[in-house]
Homo-oligomer: 314 residues x 2
């Protein structure tokens, strides 16, 4: 099966794993007048219109930026030019952005953002958020500091090193091939009528397939068999790796955990096809007509998995 | 392709995600005289001979165990009986283990340990190690405490919750189909002659396939194309999820990073077949005859991937 590229994947930057080991090389990049900085404001991104779509808006580093308190994070290089993410609070109102630039939440912006830029923004969002929440050492409680442009943090007192975390999540569409239907669930906080694939974090001591079987059983009471990987997606809210799978149903009677799920149902191919032809529901928007099924939009890997099954591509 | 079960996967315990949300249910399990405890000593495990192989050795909770200072971690239940991991320092020499029980490092023991028990030990090792290294809040530096039998920790001062981390790693065998050879590398710390698949942690904002292409390029200079997932494996040293892939070579000239790799080479199918017929090298053992290729043993997913290619199963 050819690789499917979900949104947020395919980041084109060279992360410079080798050269960034040299702290002085990183410092030289900071001082390079050609280096570009992406200033995030409460994890929202500056964007502006370019042609048909939206692009990220980059700035040189303001001369008075407080890089001690807000150290820039080296994302990588593009055509030899360094690209950093930085908290906009490092130099409020001093970043030189295009006049039409506006700050947007990545979840809202991703559908209209250039695909390469969406990948860069995903990296920047997870990276900055992690650094902002890891100022202290989990081993001893003392302050930490960032090194190598942010590839990891070291404790200022004990020998501990702390690397940014990426949390693997399994997300699965379970298929009942004989009856041409698939299993989807919904959480109580979602808009009425919205259903998606079943998902959960991978636990310690689990393979991907173990985690799929456990999560599907916990959330639906259905036995998942013949688990197969489909595609994956970085999901920067805050730092998940979505691992998309399909599985066959080894049982049919649904029995879900009401604490975790609001509803779990089987949906026929006709119901899915009909819903895929409608606009996707958005969180916070008014509900759909009573009884209408709404599926996640193309940004979500759940959409990829459901569509793959509905189109017979798997 | 049918699922391949690597060692450490297939843990048979029921993790009790729903019932453990009730702290009083967890406390009742602690007080249950039938509950069984696995006392770890510096992350080594008590084991004893049973039939042809080795099994984990469990004990009731000693009456004087200091569970405030060393809170037991609920692994799950087996036939309705709770199973906990606990630091043996909670009650030194008071755990009631079989007379022939010895403490073994999991890396050394895994090849002779019962497969289900290897899965339980993997969970226990990652879980206990994470708790021991997360006594403080990364957000504010204050002490944390464990809840729900250890499913997560909360800060005692700020609102932060901290979940155990699982670090996804890609590990890849790159294949040159036309010339019937595969790409393997070695690190300087390994025994002479030992080579394995190329591996590295998945970064923020990368899909599995993105990470494979970056790691293979960084470590070998080879372009990896047509990346496909093979199987996965929990790797509890300390808490990785190994994601095993195969890829085709889009180029042939090796150019490796000498800081990261000691050597990277193409190996023919004959060389691989010959080596797979020999005993695997162990870390710390005397080297092989000059020039002989040694591959990782069956415990490693690298062995699974190399063997799959050599046997023509992929």
């Amino acid at each position: 099966m050819p690789e499917f590229r979900n949104i947020f994947s395919g980041n084109p930057l060279d992360r410079e794993a080798a050269r960034r080991r040299d702290e002085s090389w990183v410092t030289e990049r900071l001082d390079d007048p050609d280096a570009l900085f992406l200033p995030l404001r409460d994890l929202t991104f500056p964007m502006h219109q370019e042609g048909e779509g939206m692009r990220l808006a980059w700035s040189p580093l303001p001369s008075d930026a407080d890089v001690e308190r807000h150290p820039p994070l080296l994302l990588g290089t593009s055509d030899g030019t360094a690209r950093f993410a930085i908290d906009a609070a490092a130099a409020p109102d001093r970043f030189a952005l295009p006049e039409d630039a506006t700050f947007m939440d990545l979840r809202a912006a991703a559908p209209v953002l250039d695909a390469d830029d969406a990948g860069i923004a995903a990296q920047a969002r997870s990276f900055l958020d992690w650094h902002q929440r890891h100022g202290f050492c989990a081993v001893c409680g003392e302050p930490t500091r960032h090194v190598q442009g942010g590839i990891y943090r070291t404790c200022t007192v004990c020998p501990a090193e702390h690397f940014p975390r990426t949390d693997p999540v399994v997300i699965t569409v379970v298929i009942d091939t004989e009856r041409e239907r698939c299993l989807l669930g919904r959480q109580a906080s979602w808009p009425p009528g919205m259903f998606s694939a079943l998902a959960g974090f991978i636990d310690h001591g689990e393979s991907i397939e173990d985690a799929v079987r456990r999560e599907v059983a916990e959330e639906s009471g259905i036995e998942a068999v013949n688990v197969r990987y489909h595609s994956s997606q970085p999901w920067p809210f805050p730092s998940s790796l979505m691992i998309g799978c399909l599985a066959d149903a080894g049982s049919s009677e649904i029995n879900y955990d009401e604490w975790e799920m609001d509803d779990v149902q089987w949906f026929t191919r006709d119901e899915i096809d009909h819903s895929l032809g409608q606009p996707a529901a958005q969180l916070g928007e008014p509900g759909l007509p009573e009884g209408a099924l709404s599926l996640p939009g193309p940004m979500a890997i759940a959409h990829t998995l459901i569509t793959a099954w509905a189109r017979g591509d798997v």
